[in-house]
């Protein structure tokens, strides 16, 4: 169950309470997120939409521990990440977050296999165990026969599949997708979204996705709109959410 009113109980997998994010640019303070609340349960698939500069990616970065909020708290599976040290946050990311980027962000000098193996290098798995996990992840995304290919030898859709394999290989707590189809044609985008649907439906993955594409967003359980740093549920005005405030 996805809520943005800050009134959910503490059983949510992801619990965001009153987060603000302010940037300074040339002496001017820009508030990107304003007292934002969010609750996401395990297995939820939520899409964030909104105009450019509305704070979608900032929110994703905060949820993924890539950035820290100016105020408020984020709790994931019982761990409050907002006050973690940089080093702890790094370890936390490795364990709990799978990233899927718009531009794939594969390492060009590594093969598909080696790219997918990267997160596992941070675990205590043996080489043979890592190989098994990587082969499974690549099989899930339908690229078992491309594991020795370099990113330049793959199509955009295939690259994104490798990125998805890399994101799921360590079985993280949740996946963050930043415009996963933004760089793909419609056909490839559909294939990627079918794969993401499968991750949610078949493997019960929790996914938070930023997109500009309404068709892509429509495949999520819930679509939330960000406007001027405020989250609102699709079809609702900003007012009720603001009224919800922090719990």
């Amino acid at each position: 169950m996805i809520r943005v009113d800050g009134r959910s109980d503490s059983s949510s997998l992801i619990r965001v309470r009153g987060i603000n994010k302010t940037y300074s640019r040339g002496g001017e303070k820009i508030q990107v997120l304003q007292g934002l609340n969010l609750d996401v349960d395990k297995g939820d698939f939520v899409a964030f939409m909104g105009p450019s500069g509305s704070g979608k990616t900032t929110l994703l970065n905060l949820l993924g521990g890539l950035d820290v909020p100016s105020a408020g708290s984020i709790t994931v599976d019982g761990d409050e990440i907002t006050h973690m040290s940089a080093s702890k946050l790094t370890h936390w990311r490795a364990r709990h977050v799978g990233f899927i980027f718009q531009m794939y962000n594969l390492i060009p000098v590594l093969t598909a296999f080696q790219n997918v193996e990267l997160p596992l290098l941070l675990t205590k798995l043996s080489k043979s165990e890592r190989r098994k996990h990587v082969e499974t992840a690549l099989a899930v995304v339908g690229l078992a026969d491309r594991m020795n290919h370099y990113p330049r030898q793959l199509s955009g859709g295939q690259e994104q599949r490798v990125t998805i394999a890399r994101a799921i290989v360590s079985d993280p707590t949740f996946l963050l997708c930043d415009e996963p189809t933004g760089d793909l044609d419609r056909k490839s985008a559909d294939e990627i979204m079918a794969l993401i649907d499968e991750l949610v439906g078949k493997y019960n993955k929790t996914i938070l996705m930023v997109t500009h594409d309404a068709l892509v967003a429509a495949r999520a359980h819930t679509t939330l709109h960000l406007d001027k740093g405020v989250l609102i549920e699709a079809g609702k005005s900003a007012q009720p959410v603001l009224a919800g405030g922090a719990a």
């Binding site: 990311r93 977050v97 290098l121 890399r166």
Partner: protein, 389 residues
């Protein structure tokens, strides 16, 4: 676990055009570094190999080299009876020697070089046993004959067997060539001390040093004690090998210091080259670095990875630098011995130890050139770097 090294290996391979600037800079620096050290090493080896651990050299107390020594014939006679000296068929094995320099044109340039001329006794080959006549014969005592070292034979004009050259007021005939095993003696001319000195208007009864063969390696102290205890003598006794080792210090230090300065200045340039290469690597791969950090690789892993990459580049540079100077090994050159002011031929001596030093120097430059960019890589803001194109 750290970022896999294959990432660095392939990144260097993929960006070789950028890495090559640093590689060339480091290779050049290491080449100069190893060449200068091998020059100093060659000079030192040549001089040190002139001395034998079985011989002692006796000079006037306070003399720093044979050139400044003075030993009279009376002193030599006293020394002959001291204990600890080996004896041959003709008596004690010692050679009172006259050392001076004569200007002789170099074959290569035609310009005069100071060649060391040594007046020795007839039994000198029994004392310096590593020296062999390889062409012609030994000079005959009392005759105006000389033998020349193999380097002198090929370096200076007129020092061929059968030729006659003027030394001082006397014309000497070259009757033989000797091989002194690559030591400084190979650059010398030897003749009878009783003729060489007078040829330069020196008294027949005055020498500059006495070299003697010890009865055994333990005899040095016995001989030294005897010389010290004898009130008629005011002499310094040194093991010959130590004397030549000291002789090499001044020029060796000079070459090393000058070489160090040149290599140091080049190293600054090479480090900047490495810095440039690594900074551009970090700049070009901001998104890759941010991705790896997002995946959970920490700052220390990123620093280590980029330092390893810098080390890899510098190692290749070091290796190329070492290989490039290898042909210098054994190449003969000449320099002025600052103790005797005579020209001495010696060979570049590139040892495995010097090559290791060269590679270590390269790695040191790599660390200097890689550390700051690596720290920058680790401190890039992940969120913005992830979206770099």
């Amino acid at each position: 676990m750290a970022i896999p090294i294959v990432y660095n290996l392939r990144s260097v391979k993929a960006r070789w055009t950028s890495a090559i600037v640093a590689v060339i800079g480091i290779a050049g620096t290491v080449g100069v570094f190893v060449a200068m050290l091998s020059l100093a090493r060659g000079f030192r080896t040549t001089l040190v190999s002139s001395g034998s651990p079985d011989n002692a050299i006796v000079m006037r107390a306070g003399a720093t080299s044979e050139m400044t020594g003075a030993v009279t014939i009376d002193t030599v006679k006293i020394l002959q009876d001291e204990p600890g000296i080996a004896r041959g068929a003709d008596g004690p094995l010692l050679t009172p020697e006259v050392v001076l320099v004569a200007p002789i044109p170099l074959i290569s340039t035609g310009t005069d070089a100071n060649v060391q001329v040594r007046g020795v006794s007839k039994n000198v080959l029994e004392i310096r046993r590593n020296i062999k006549i390889v062409e012609g014969r030994m000079f005959k005592p009392g005759l105006a004959e000389i033998v020349v070292g193999k380097n002198a034979n090929v370096s200076y004009s007129g020092l061929t067997v059968g030729n006659t050259i003027g030394l001082g007021s006397v014309r000497f005939k070259v009757v033989g060539i000797f091989d002194a095993g690559g030591s400084a003696f190979d650059s010398e001319i030897w003749g009878d001390a009783h003729l060489i000195g007078p040829a330069y208007n020196r008294p027949d009864n005055l020498f500059q040093s006495v070299t003697l063969r010890l009865a055994s390696p333990d005899s040095l102290q016995q001989f030294k004690d005897a010389v010290t205890a004898d009130p008629r003598l005011n002499l310094d006794v040194t093991l010959e090998i130590e004397y030549y080792s000291k002789q090499s210090t001044r020029l060796t230090t000079l070459i090393t210091v000058l070489g160090g300065i040149v290599a140091g200045i080049m190293a600054i340039g090479a480090v900047f080259g490495a810095l440039n290469t690594m900074y551009s690597a970090v700049s070009e791969r901001g998104r890759e670095i941010a991705t790896m950090r997002a995946l959970g690789f920490g700052g220390p892993s990123v620093v280590t990875s980029f330092v390893i990459e810098a080390l890899l580049i510098s190692f290749i540079g070091g290796l190329i630098g070492c290989i490039a100077v290898l042909p210098l090994n054994g190449l003969t050159t000449g320099a002025m011995n600052l103790q005797t002011f005579s020209h001495m031929a010696f060979a570049f001596k590139i040892t495995p130890e010097l090559l290791v030093k060269g590679v270590v120097f390269a790695l040191f430059m790599g660390v200097l050139g890689g550390l700051l960019p690596a720290i920058r890589a680790a401190s890039l803001p992940i969120s913005s770097a992830l979206r770099e194109l």
